[in-house]
Each structure stands twice: as C-alpha cells, then as structure tokens.
Amino acid sequence: MVDPWNDPDAKPLISFQNVTKSFGSFLAVDNLSLDIFEKEFFALLGPSGCGKTTLLRMLAGFEAPTSGSILLANRDITPIPPNKRTVNMMFQSYALFPHLSVYDNIAFGLRRQKMPKAQLASRVDEMLTLTRLERFANRRPHQISGGQRQRVALARSLAKAPKLLLLDEPMGALDKKLRQETQFELVDIQEKTGTTFVIVTHDQEEAMTVATRVGVMNEGQLVQVEAPDVIYENPNSTYVASFLGQINLIEGRATPTASGIDLVWAEGQPRLHCKTDVVFSSGQRCHLAIRPEKIMIHAEEPESRNKVCGTVLDIAYLGNISTYHVELISGHVIKAQTTNDRRISRRSFTWDDSVWLSWTDTAAVALAN
C-alpha cells in the first residue's frame, strides 16, 4: 500500500494553505502549508516557542489565521467556532474541570451533544476501561496523580470520537517510564479507533515512537516533513540533523565525483568520501552529517576509505551503549557509539587511548545548508 502522503490522488483531512499567524508584529506561524491525512499520527516537533501550540489552537478554533486558510475535509473551517468543530483537543495543562469528578469530566462533551443516558453511561465506561481509570471514576481531579490526570484528559478528548484529536505535549509532566507506556497506549488507541492524531512535542524520541510522519518546525516554518526513519536517516538540513538525536557535523569543501562528493575538511587530512544524489559544485561549502552509531571504533588502523585517528577524550556510559568522544589531531571532536555487548570491566578502550574511527561511504549525509 502506498502511504497517502506519497499518493498524489489522496485527499487530505487537514490542509493548511499558506497560513500565517502574527501576534502584533511577531510572526508565530509563517506562510505554512501542510497536508495531514486521515488516520495519520502526525507529530509536530520543534523547540519551545516555534509556533506548535499556535498551529494546534488554529485547528481547534481558538485562534484565527491572520492570512491563508485551513481546510478540514475540504471545508474552510476558519469561520467555524470551536464548539462547532468535530475536533477535540487535549490541553498542555490538561484543563480538567476541578469541580467535576473523573466520570463527569469524561461525560461532559457527551452531555453537551445530548446523548441518551444509557448510551452515555456505556460510552464513558468504555473510555474509563480504555484508559484504565475504572477505580477512579468518582474522584475529583485533585485526588489523583499526574499520570492519571493525563489519562482523564485523554479520555475526555476521545469520548466524543472526534475526526481529529489534537494533543499538546500530552506527556510533558510524566516520568520516563510512564511516558513510554502512555506512548504505546496512544498508538494502540489510535489503531483501535482510527482517529487522526496531531501531537505536539519537543521530545524527539516521543515523535519517533508514535508518529507516522514528523514535521520539524523552526521559527514558524516547517523545515522538513517526512516519516520518522527518513527524517532520522536523511535530514535535509543541519538544523533537522542536529535536532533529532546525536550527530557529528564535519564542515568542508566539496569536490564532485562520479557517485557523490569528496570532502576536503582539514589541513593534512585525507579526503572523506560520501555517496549522494545531491549535486554540489566544485569547492562548494558543505557539511557531512554522520550518526555516532554508524561510526566504528578500532585499536588498529582499519581497511576503509573514511578513517581518522585520535585520542579518547571522554566516555559516556549509558548502560546499554557507550558514547566515545574522540579528539582528532585537527581539533575536531567526533562521537562514536558502541553497544555494550561485554561487561564494563572488559571494555576495549579507555581514556587517552589512541584509536581509529571509520565509516562507510553511505553512512554520511552531505548537506548544503
């Protein structure tokens, strides 16, 4: 099956068309166009203040775009007030009603649409089961833990079975373990209900875990929109490359070759080779971006076209993996990662050891900006 975003005939559920939002003279969202498809789990990723919440609030109807239009199922929703949209939002602050019990919080939206009593009760029970909150139905929001509150907020926004669910940093307040559990729960719910999700996060791991596609934002603009693996493996700029995970960036000048480029990057060092489809002109400034886990570390000089040598400056031990910071003669510091498949006492390298680093021609990505 073709992914809808690669299918030119697919009809998007949401379509931002040249949307701009300014607060006074400040551009929070800057001429942004984006299509999101039905049953997608779309993650918006970016640093704090880049306009993610503003984008969601425009979808929910709390802010109107300054210019451009937003289509939901082919209909311009700009003039529709929030209470008339088939969109529900889970707020960054959860926004639970403190005067209502967990049950009444979840039932709130259903009561507004005058759902019959029996049907309402069974729907709320269904939501309570889904979010594992049955035992807390009669508690008030202040009588439950942060993680439970977050699940109430989720259940409340899911209860009306919206076409589109907006989640604004839904796991910001959770500890790591609960966050991971909830992420899988979300994906599970999404598969069960078929709702389209748009999730805002500033945690790249979260975006990678849950999303069908990730949009990386910077200063009100989308820098790249792709599936998580594509974003990770083929970032289109040094900004995206360094925003997702760890990366080594080596700056130099390109010389085009038959299958890619050779990079002149430091005085007296051999050229680095990189396979790429992007065309560079001779002498053009560019960066090689290499993920630390794609760099191998050796005690002896390896057989490879891309190799450098240096001394171990620092070792970050993370249990399952270790990251070695290796300082080259040129002054560059390169990070290389190895899995700790041996016990730590039998580690091959230690501080101040002289080591070789190598990688293949396809490991690096050449970036023009």
Binding site: F62, M89, F108, G109
Partner: protein
C-alpha cells in the same frame, strides 16, 4: 507555638477590650429591665418583645432586608459580568481606563455618591422610596463585588473555558457550567459583602430614601436623637447577631474551599 508572655497577654486584652467593650455593654444593656439605659435593674427580655410591637421598626426592618437582598443580588450579577468582561475580554481601547474607573466608587466619599444620586433621581423625576434606595445600593456595592470576583477570575485558568468550548459548549454554557462553579466562592463572598454593606448604610440611604420607605439605620439614627432607649439596644443586638452569622458563614465557605483546593 510560643507561650503568651505577660506583655502579649496584656496587649491582647486591651486590644480586644477596646474593640469589643462598647459592643458588649450594648448587648448587656439590651437585657436590662430598667428603662434607664445606665442603671442595671435585673435581667429581662422584655425590650425584645416590645420591639416586636413597634410597627415603625418592623416596617423599617422589612424595607432594609428587601433592599439588601434585592440590591446585593443585582449588584452581584452586574459586578460579576463587569469583572468577567474586564478580566477576560481581549484588549479593547480604553480597557485600562475602565478597570481603573471601577475602583473609583470605592474611594468616593459616600456623601458625594448620595448627593449625586439624589440629584439624578430628582432630575429624572423618580419618586424617592424603595426603588431609589435599591438603585443607589446596587450602584455602590457593585464595585465591591466586581473587585472581589475579578481577583478570583484573574487566577482562574483560561484553558478550562476553552476546554468547555472544545467539548461543544456555547460561550454562555461554558460560563454557566465551568466558570461560574469555579468562581462561586468569590461570587458568594461578593454577595455577602454587598448585603452587609447595604444593611448598615446610613449616609447614602438618607439621601435616597423617601417618606414611603425608611431603612433601619435611618430609623435608629432618628430615634437615638430623641434619646437612647433599651429597644434600640435590643435591635442593635439583633443586627450584630445577623452580621456575625453572615461573616462567619463567609469565612467558613472560603476556608472549606481553600481546604478543598489543597
């Protein structure tokens, strides 16, 4: 907690004596069987029964209660609405001026408020009586309500209202179902404040009352000018009891709410 020292005990005793001795004397003498206010002649509740026979006082009490109940209710509705608009609405031209102006009547001398209202009522040809007192009391107590309510609204999370809209409420329903229940303690406190302000107002009521309607404070004031009677003491004792109940209720409500929030 540290034990009270000799100095602290003395300071406390004198302070409270200064505050409450006059009130205690008034309450004690309301149970005096003698008509002479300054001579104790034994315990009796006869002045309370006599009070019940005095039609003038009963009429005035009835007027006062009606004025207080109606004016504080209207003031609470208007004051809450004003507070809501001033705190919640997007910035509109002159908003700061409006917020400032709502505080002005708090510091305006009562004589001036009373006089200006009197001139207004004469100007538009409204006969002075129950209606004019209610209007006058609504006018000045509304500001107190809106000050109390707006401080609560300022601390109230805006996203709760947005969540209500998001779940299908109209803005009016969102206000009734989410905002109001959460600011209710402030609204009730505002109502109690307006009620007690209206209950003990003498100055503004004197300007706006007419021969058809006289409030209790005016009645007490005018009869005291002919000499203090034990009946007045009894009446004042009843008023003190009522105000105390009101204040204690308000305190309990806000305390319970505080407990619930933590």
């Amino acid at each position: 907690m540290r034990r009270l020292t000799w100095f602290n005990t003395t300071a406390l005793t004198f302070g409270f004596a200064f505050l409450y001795l006059p009130v205690v004397i008034l309450v004690v003498y309301s149970f005096n069987s003698s008509r002479l206010v300054t001579v104790w002649a034994g315990f009796s509740t006869k002045w309370y029964f006599e009070l019940l026979q005095n039609q003038l006082f009963i009429d005035a009490a009835w007027v006062t209660l009606r004025v207080a109940a109606i004016s504080s209710t209207i003031a609470t509705i208007l004051g809450t609405m004003a507070a809501y608009v001033l705190v919640r609405s997007a910035r509109f031209y002159g908003r700061t001026l409006f917020s400032g102006m709502i505080y002005a009547p708090l510091v305006m001398p009562e004589v001036i408020t009373g006089l200006s209202l009197l001139l207004l009522f004469i100007g538009i040809g409204l006969d002075r009586g129950l209606v004019t007192i209610i209007l006058a009391h609504t006018t000045f107590s509304m500001c107190f309500v809106s000050v109390v309510v707006s401080s609560r609204l300022a601390n109230f999370d805006r996203s709760l209202e947005e969540a209500a809209l998001d779940l299908g409420c109209t803005p009016f329903h969102a206000f009734c179902l989410v905002t109001l229940p959460n600011i209710a303690p402030a609204v009730i406190a505002g109502w109690l404040l307006a009620f007690s302000l209206s209950l003990d107002d003498l100055v503004i009521a004197s300007f706006t009352a007419g021969p058809s309607a006289t409030t209790l404070p005016i009645r007490i004031w005018s009869s005291v000018r002919l000499g203090v009677s034990p009946e007045i003491n009894a009446l004042s004792t009843l008023l003190i009891a009522m105000v105390s109940i009101g204040v204690i209720t308000a305190a309990l409500i806000s305390k319970r709410n505080l407990l619930r929030q933590n």
